[in-house]
């Protein structure tokens, strides 16, 4: 006991913990990519003192946000005021009371922020963080799925750019017959299948309602997606290579088109380590849809800002949040902003470079506003089940038709262990 007292006395001299302070300072946990935007905030609002703790933004499934808050809850102290996470499904756990401690995320639309402000978002951007009508976070950026195509190649082959999934499959057939070796996409990364094909294909394989999780891989839309993928895998127009892998990069000049998120622009096409496209070679088009289905698409990413329910400084937090998502110079922190006014400005700036043919701004705006709201955001990701079941299964020669039931079962199991009921 004496030791404890001594160390308490000593530590009083050494305290430097990143905790809540009641003197106008807010503590923010964010990753390195957000730092320029946060510095811009500090310049614009010198009255708010910011203590930025840089972490990995919970990327790559590291679960930093949830881990650290779990520890802070147990200790009864140490919560930050604002947190940024690159994942979209943190509201699933942050909105709930855990182990007797109040929910971490502060509700933002019950008087904290004006509804007028929240209405400035692109419709659907706040779906992942809205639970039972309460908004628990502010979306930072969007990553809607649209359709990218190699205009040069399509012109060379004399084909039209497809507008529906059926056209896409038909194009694959034509390529397989007349130009073997040319392909139309990849499902080698675990984010492609679920988000680019199933979500865009409006397949109800990942849905949440309250505490219940459902996944139905036998739904008609799901079956259509399964058939599409199997068909194109079979005729070689879909590859199992990761878009970041050596094999893909080696044959990237044979890529004719690919449905994918907005950030493919920088990560794939303008990346010398990726497709390494030339200006004007590639074009952006509105997302593919089923010919007789709703005009919806999927989404692959987009981070969220959360405010702490334990904060001692709500006014500063409010000022920060409003700036960081809507400031026209820095919103979106490099990606497509989720706030409409900022998004328009960002798209104009991007389109000015003229790198992409086609109506770049129109394609992305359409995609951003049509993300299907029927996709769920439980406290786990479909990617882990996909990577565990489908990726090795396909590599071993099975088909999506063989594997889908297993994938569904694995997702249902994962749902159960994190506390959802499965029917």
């Amino acid at each position: 006991m004496n030791t404890l007292r001594i160390s308490l006395a000593l530590s009083a001299l050494l305290v430097a913990s990143p905790a809540i302070s009641a003197d106008g300072q807010i503590t923010i946990w964010a990753d390195a990519t957000r730092q320029p935007a946060i510095e811009a905030f500090e310049a614009a609002h010198p009255e708010v003192k910011v203590n930025l703790v840089v972490d990995d933004g919970s990327s790559g499934g590291s679960g930093t946000f949830q881990t650290k808050i779990a520890l802070a809850d147990q200790a009864g102290e140490g919560w930050p005021d604002v947190v940024f996470s690159t994942q979209q499904n943190d509201a699933a756990w942050a909105s709930k009371e855990t182990n007797g401690v109040q929910a971490f995320a502060m509700p933002l639309n019950k008087g904290f922020l004006d509804q007028a402000f929240l209405d400035g978002y692109i419709p659907g951007a706040l779906d992942p963080v809205t639970i039972d009508g309460t908004v628990y976070g502010l979306r930072n950026d969007l990553a809607p799925v649209l359709f990218w195509y190699n205009k040069a190649l399509l012109d060379q082959f004399g084909y039209d750019a497809p507008k529906t999934w059926e056209d896409y499959q038909a194009l694959g057939d034509k390529l397989a017959k007349d130009h073997p070796g040319y392909f139309l996409g990849s499902i080698g990364d675990s984010f492609e299948g679920p988000y680019i094909y199933y979500w865009s294909g409006q397949a109800p394989v990942f849905q949440v309602k309250g505490d219940a999780f459902t996944s139905n891989t036998t739904d008609p839309n799901a079956k259509k997606v399964i058939d599409l993928i199997d068909h194109m895998l079979k005729n070689g127009t879909l590859t199992q290579d990761s878009v970041f892998g050596a094999s893909f990069v080696a044959k990237a000049d044979h890529l004719v088109a690919i449905p994918g998120p907005a950030w493919y622009a920088g990560a794939l096409f303008q990346n010398p380590g990726g497709v390494n496209a030339k200006p004007g070679q590639w074009a952006a088009a509105p997302p593919l849809t089923w010919s007789n289905g709703d005009k919806v698409t999927g989404n692959v990413g987009g981070g969220v800002w959360y405010a702490s329910s334990h904060t001692a400084n709500p006014d500063a937090v409010k000022t920060f949040l409003q700036f960081i998502v809507s400031d026209e110079k820095t919103a979106g922190t490099g990606g497509l902003p989720a706030y409409k006014a900022a998004a328009d400005k960002w798209l104009d700036a991007q389109a000015k470079s003229g790198f992409y043919a086609g109506d770049f701004k129109g394609a992305i705006s359409t995609a951003a506003a049509s993300v299907w709201s029927g996709w769920g955001f439980p406290n786990f990701s479909p990617e882990t089940a996909w990577a565990k079941v489908i990726t090795p299964g396909l590599a071993a020669g099975k088909t999506m038709a063989d594997l889908s039931a297993d994938w569904q079962k694995e997702m249902q199991n994962e749902a159960q262990v994190v506390g959802y009921t499965v029917n």
Partner: protein, 316 residues
């Protein structure tokens, strides 16, 4: 100079043939002085032991048998055993342990003996260095290395991977091969350290003993098998105990592979990873403690055996 310790009635006899035979009557104050210095020397360590070893372990045990502070008996254990990921994880760890432990013990002792027997100084030193360096790459820093080394399309050892019929990264990290892949990675990072320890232990064996064996006509293999290895008994036991415990607590290697493969190697491959998920993904610290306790009990059981078999608590 007289110390403050009196040593009456001591007689020492030196018979021929070496070795000191003590026929002394120890003074009580010698014992007390020894006891005092012993306690003083362990005091600081004991402080740390209590703060970072005993109290946290007791808390973990407390967590394993309670839920929100209330005693619930074995409920947490039952819940963990019924988890659909538990048995697969046990199987994974079991297979891994088999491959890992056997190869580690055999190869470490073999390599240590050979390195020790090498006559050329610079060769011995550089071999020890080369064997050890991978140990610096344990953990998070090695993700990138494995991402490339295990991918037959870009790997520096692609000929080896192709020889095993592996054509892609996904195939290499396939669940069937994983125990072997993980054991190889763990051996790569961990063997060097133990080789160093064994080398140091071999250095402590009196050269007279080795000389005597040579004079008797024993070749290197017989010397190793009959002289050196038995004298390494304690060290080998220590290595087995810790490696067994380390093996059951398999965590870093599958986590690194999980990151490198972006999920193809699942996040719940090993029991320790499962404990981690319970604590930080499911906010269930009690279930997590239950899994850890199971691992501890298993390691303990084996350790008890080796402590007595290897004479770990005995002194020369």
């Amino acid at each position: 100079m007289h110390s403050d310790v009196s040593t009456p009635h001591t007689t020492v006899v030196h018979p021929q043939g070496g070795g000191l035979v003590r026929t002394s009557v120890r003074g009580a104050s010698v014992e007390r002085a020894q006891g005092r210095i012993g306690l003083i020397f362990v005091s600081l360590y004991t402080l740390f032991l209590v703060a970072f070893g005993i109290m946290p372990s007791l808390y973990a045990i407390f967590l394993a048998f309670t839920k929100r502070g209330a005693f619930v008996g074995f409920d947490n254990f039952v819940k963990v055993f019924k988890d659909y990921r538990f048995l697969p994880a046990v199987e994974h760890v079991g297979l891994y342990l088999l491959v890992w432990l056997v190869s580690l013990v055999v190869l470490v002792v073999l390599l240590a003996v050979i390195v020790h027997a090498v006559g050329v100084r610079w060769l011995s030193t550089s071999m020890r260095f080369i064997y050890y360096i991978p140990g610096a790459l344990a953990g998070a820093s090695s993700v990138m290395v494995w991402l490339f080394v295990l991918d037959p399309t870009v790997s520096p050892v692609s000929f080896l991977l192709h020889a095993f019929g592996l054509g892609s990264f996904v195939e290499t990290v396939q669940a069937d091969h994983l125990p072997i892949t993980l054991a190889v990675i763990a051996f790569w990072t961990g063997a060097g350290g133990w080789i160093l320890v064994m080398y140091g232990a071999l250095n402590n064996i009196s050269r007279d003993v080795i000389e005597a064996a040579r004079v008797d006509g024993a070749g290197p293999i017989r010397t190793a098998w009959f002289i050196q290895i038995p004298l390494l008994r304690k060290w080998i036991s220590y290595m087995v105990i810790l490696s067994f415990a380390g093996g059951t607590q398999l965590f870093v290697e599958p986590r690194v592979l999980s990151q490198a493969s972006r999920g193809v190697v699942s996040q719940d491959y090993s029991l320790n990873q499962l404990a981690f998920l319970y604590a930080f993904k499911q906010s269930d610290f009690n279930g997590s403690a239950a899994i850890s306790l199971v691992l501890l009990v298993v390691s303990l059981a084996l350790s008890v055996y080796f402590v007595f078999r290897g004479g770990l608590f005995e002194r020369v």
